[in-house]
């Protein structure tokens, strides 16, 4: 294990300390350049920001765990391709019956878990039922609420019966709630994940890197690279430094677009600008003054020049959409024209609402995008007579406490990364946004229960209703920026699933 140091080495290191100090300068001379080393095509080092605290997404939220584990260590029955369409994975095919309430999956043959156990229909039943049990402590478990029962037809066939037809359910199966587990492999999910994926965990040096190794017994196409090291960095500058000096091969989901320019002009690197499921949301507390007045919220949307916000805060990267739906979702439509930048209209609306010379508190989580966005939003609000006082809130601890749990805020900004989170955010009046869902509740349920075409149409209607009520301002869709050495292929530009899919990546 590439850990830090063993205890014995540490003592030896301490004893050598004095000698080493003298040798340091010598070592510096002999270390040589690290940039020109020949590429080892069996190895890949990926730089990521934000290390997972453990590897168990069944009891710990956050994007870091599924980013490393899904698609690589764990697989579901179905997955998404780069355009966001559902594709088979552990299920070769599926058909619906019983008025779309039953899904019968045919499973691949010969798939095994990394502990050697065979993947069979019983595992599907176990995994789905486990989500519904008390063992899962992750808010996303509600995505399986509609499952009534799981029936094993044979070793390679399984039927899931839903309480009501649901278009969203099959999509949920592509996410972490659809991950397949082995009953004998769930004892220590935090440290020892067991899945059917192309990689398994080789080692984890906490505070440094998660090391994955390709499984020789993987049922599908062998991954392009054998050893993958996911290295975690606290800030973006350290990632670009590591890439420049050759210590890492890829920076994925980069958090500092202003650092891109030096790579864009250099043929030794490729810069990928894709889209993601993350919406940068300017949220307003719909249940508290002054934003319990729809006119005041609409005034905010007219007051903010979203293009200027994106260009200033995020170097012009990211997609302007005008609604809380990313372009890769089936019910996406361009709603930029609904609230064009119009400060005069904003002032008129504020006057109509009797809300001139507003003073509000703008609670900003301590994240680079949030800080970057907050200042320009503040200045644009000032232009229409809203005096927003920025109050910084440590993220996640204080922000979750204050804004998310206690709803003790007026305005905030957050990157909502969860896929298809429209109804999570707006179909629950007790969510921190506090949107009154009475207008969309029935329509959303009806859309979910209908066929695919009607689902998309129905959801588009729901989105329009929500945007019209202006519960939040969707500033822009967060770009998925990756920088890789030129010799790397297969890295997906878009982040449509929660996973960083490593298997297709290879050195050319």
């Amino acid at each position: 294990m590439q850990a830090i140091l063993t205890a014995r080495r540490g003592r030896r290191g301490a004893r050598l300390a004095a000698v080493l100090a003298a040798l340091l300068m010598l070592a510096a001379c002999s270390a040589g350049s690290t940039g020109g080393a020949p590429v080892n095509k069996d190895k890949l080092v990926v730089a990521l920001t934000g290390e997972p605290v453990n590897l168990d997404f069944t009891t710990t939220a956050g994007a870091a765990i599924p980013q490393a584990m899904m698609a690589n260590v764990y697989e579901g029955l179905v997955t998404l391709d780069q355009t966001g369409a559902i594709r088979p994975l552990l299920a070769t095919k599926w058909e619906t019956s019983n008025m779309n309430k039953s899904y019968t999956f045919t499973l691949v043959e010969g798939a095994t878990f990394s502990n050697g156990a065979a993947f069979e229909a019983e595992d599907v039943k176990f995994s789905i039922e486990r989500v519904k049990s008390a063992a899962w402590l992750n808010g996303l478990k509600s995505k399986m609420d509609d499952v009534q029962d799981v029936v094993v037809n044979s070793a390679t066939s399984v039927t899931v019966n839903l309480a009501r037809p649901s278009q969203a359910w099959l999509y949920s199966m592509t996410t972490l709630v659809g991950a397949m587990f082995d009953p004998s492999g769930v004892d220590d999910l935090a440290n020892n994940p067991v899945g059917t994926g192309p990689y398994k965990l080789a080692s984890w040096a906490r505070g440094e890197s998660i090391n994955l190794v390709a499984r020789p017994d993987y049922w599908g196409t062998a991954p392009g690279i054998k050893d993958v090291s996911l290295r975690y960095f606290a800030d973006a500058i350290a990632t670009t430094n590591a890439l420049s000096s050759g210590d890492v091969d890829v920076i994925y989901n980069m958090q500092a677009p202003e650092l891109l320019s030096s790579f864009e002009s250099n043929p030794a690197y490729q810069v990928l600008e894709g889209t993601s499921n993350g919406e940068v949301i300017l949220s307003m507390n719909n249940k508290a003054k002054p934003f319990n007045d729809k006119r005041v919220r609409q005034a905010v949307l007219y007051a903010i020049d979203r293009k200027a916000v994106r260009d200033t805060a995020w170097n012009g990267l990211g997609t302007l959409v005008g609604g809380p739906v990313p372009p890769t979702d089936p019910y996406y439509e361009d709603l930029n024209d609904r609230y064009p930048f119009d400060p005069a209209k904003a002032r008129a609306l504020l006057q109509e609402a009797g809300a001139q010379d507003l003073k509000i508190t703008f609670t900003v989580p301590t994240r680079p995008y949030a800080t970057a966005v907050s200042e320009i939003v503040q200045s644009q609000l000032r232009d229409v007579g809203i005096d927003a006082k920025i109050a910084s809130a440590e993220f996640p601890a204080v922000w979750l406490d204050q804004v998310f749990t206690s709803h003790d805020y007026q305005m905030s900004v957050i990157l909502a990364v969860e896929a298809r989170d429209l109804l999570t955010m707006f179909d629950d009046p007790n969510y921190y946004i506090g949107y009154d869902n009475s207008k969309i509740k029935d329509e959303a349920a009806a859309a979910d229960a209908s066929d695919e075409a009607n689902y998309v149409e129905g959801m588009k209607n729901v989105v329009r209703t929500i945007v019209d009520d202006a519960p939040v301002d969707t500033l822009f869709i967060f770009p998925n920026i990756s920088v890789a050495k030129a010799g790397i292929s297969g890295l997906g530009a878009n982040s449509v699933t929660e996973a960083l899919n490593l298997a297709p990546i290879a050195w050319s």
Binding site: I4, A14, A17, L24, A27, A31, A190, S245, D247
Partner: protein
């Protein structure tokens, strides 16, 4: 002597006890609930309650304190409910990283500061002395992380002589281990040596005016010879004191340098544990820091008696 040691030990234990209470209380006052953080942005009240139960953070505070405290006696920091692993081996790992970094930085700082400070004192009214004094003033004003960034951009990015950041275990790749240590050690030692130069200079200046130095000169020793043979030992006491204080401060102060150079030390561990409200890990790391500080003080106490025979005599007189 025994009384002195017993007194020191009693102080040591009492300090540790007070520290356990202080850090436990502080972490509970901090806003932010570990269960809510683990539940994240999709939390439901049921999930948060379930996690709090699993974590044990729903129990009364005295029970939580006692649970942790009784483990400490056995040298067991317990299992972190955030990372779901034993804390003790992790802390042991990170302590070694930090100690290597800080010890080397301190050694380098002393290796620069002692000769430089002595020269600055001896030549305090000559240009060379003034230059050193001015350089140390400047050095104190440059934050370590800034020096780190400058070093990285020049030696790693422009010249490509050294890796920009990271850490390799010496057992895995010793040359790589050394190469990755050079820049952070220099960055850490830079400010420290600037601080220490000032202490060495003023300590040496003080002993230069002592009568015994004049006597040594009268015996026929050169000014420098007299200073080296008779003066430096006396100047060592205040320098030792400040070195010990700085050493303790450095271990945690190195967190910024650890961040610039992506070094997985104690500081980085503490920072991420605080961010995740990993209460048990924070408590454990703080206890280790307190213990290191106390041990360093104890060691310095012993060093005093070696350096200064008068303290030794006084200690013997006690007996």
């Amino acid at each position: 002597m025994l009384v002195r040691i017993a007194g020191n030990l009693a102080r040591f234990v009492l300090s540790l006890l007070a520290a356990t209470l202080a850090v436990f209380a502080l972490m509970r006052v901090l806003p932010g609930d570990p269960a809510a953080i683990a539940a994240g942005e999709n939390a439901t009240p049921e999930v948060v309650a379930g996690l709090a139960k699993q974590f044990g953070t729903d129990r009364p505070l005295p029970v939580q304190y006692w649970d942790w405290f009784s483990g400490l006696w056995r040298g067991d920091f317990g299992v972190s409910y955030v990372t779901r692993t034993d804390i003790s081996p992790l802390v042991a790992d990170k302590v070694q990283v930090s100690l290597i970094l800080v010890t080397l930085a301190m050694a380098l700082a002393l290796a620069i500061a002692i000769p430089a400070g002595t020269i600055a004192a001896v030549r305090h009214n000559k240009p060379s002395g003034a230059v050193i004094a001015a350089a140390s003033q400047l050095g104190i004003a440059v934050p370590g992380f800034l020096l780190g960034i400058v070093l990285v951009s020049f030696f790693a990015l422009r010249l490509g002589w050294l890796p920009a950041n990271g850490w390799v275990a010496p057992g895995v790749d010793f040359a790589g281990f050394l190469a990755r240590l050079v820049l952070p050690v220099i960055a850490l030692a830079g400010v420290q040596s600037a601080i220490l130069v000032r202490y060495v200079r003023s300590a040496v200046l003080e002993v230069m005016h002592e009568d015994y130095l004049r006597t040594a000169r009268a015996k026929g020793l050169s000014p420098l010879g007299a200073l080296v043979r008779h003066g430096l030992r006396n100047a060592a006491i205040p320098v030792l004191t400040v070195t010990s204080v700085q050493f303790s401060a450095l271990i945690i102060g190195a967190v910024v340098i650890e961040r610039v150079f992506v070094i997985p030390g104690l500081g980085s561990m503490l920072l991420s544990a605080v961010g995740n409200r990993d209460l048990l890990t924070v408590q454990s790391v703080v206890m280790v820091l307190v213990a290191i500080t106390l041990v360093v003080n104890l060691l310095v106490d012993v060093l005093y008696t070696i350096v200064d025979p008068r303290i030794r005599a006084a200690a013997q007189g006690e007996r």
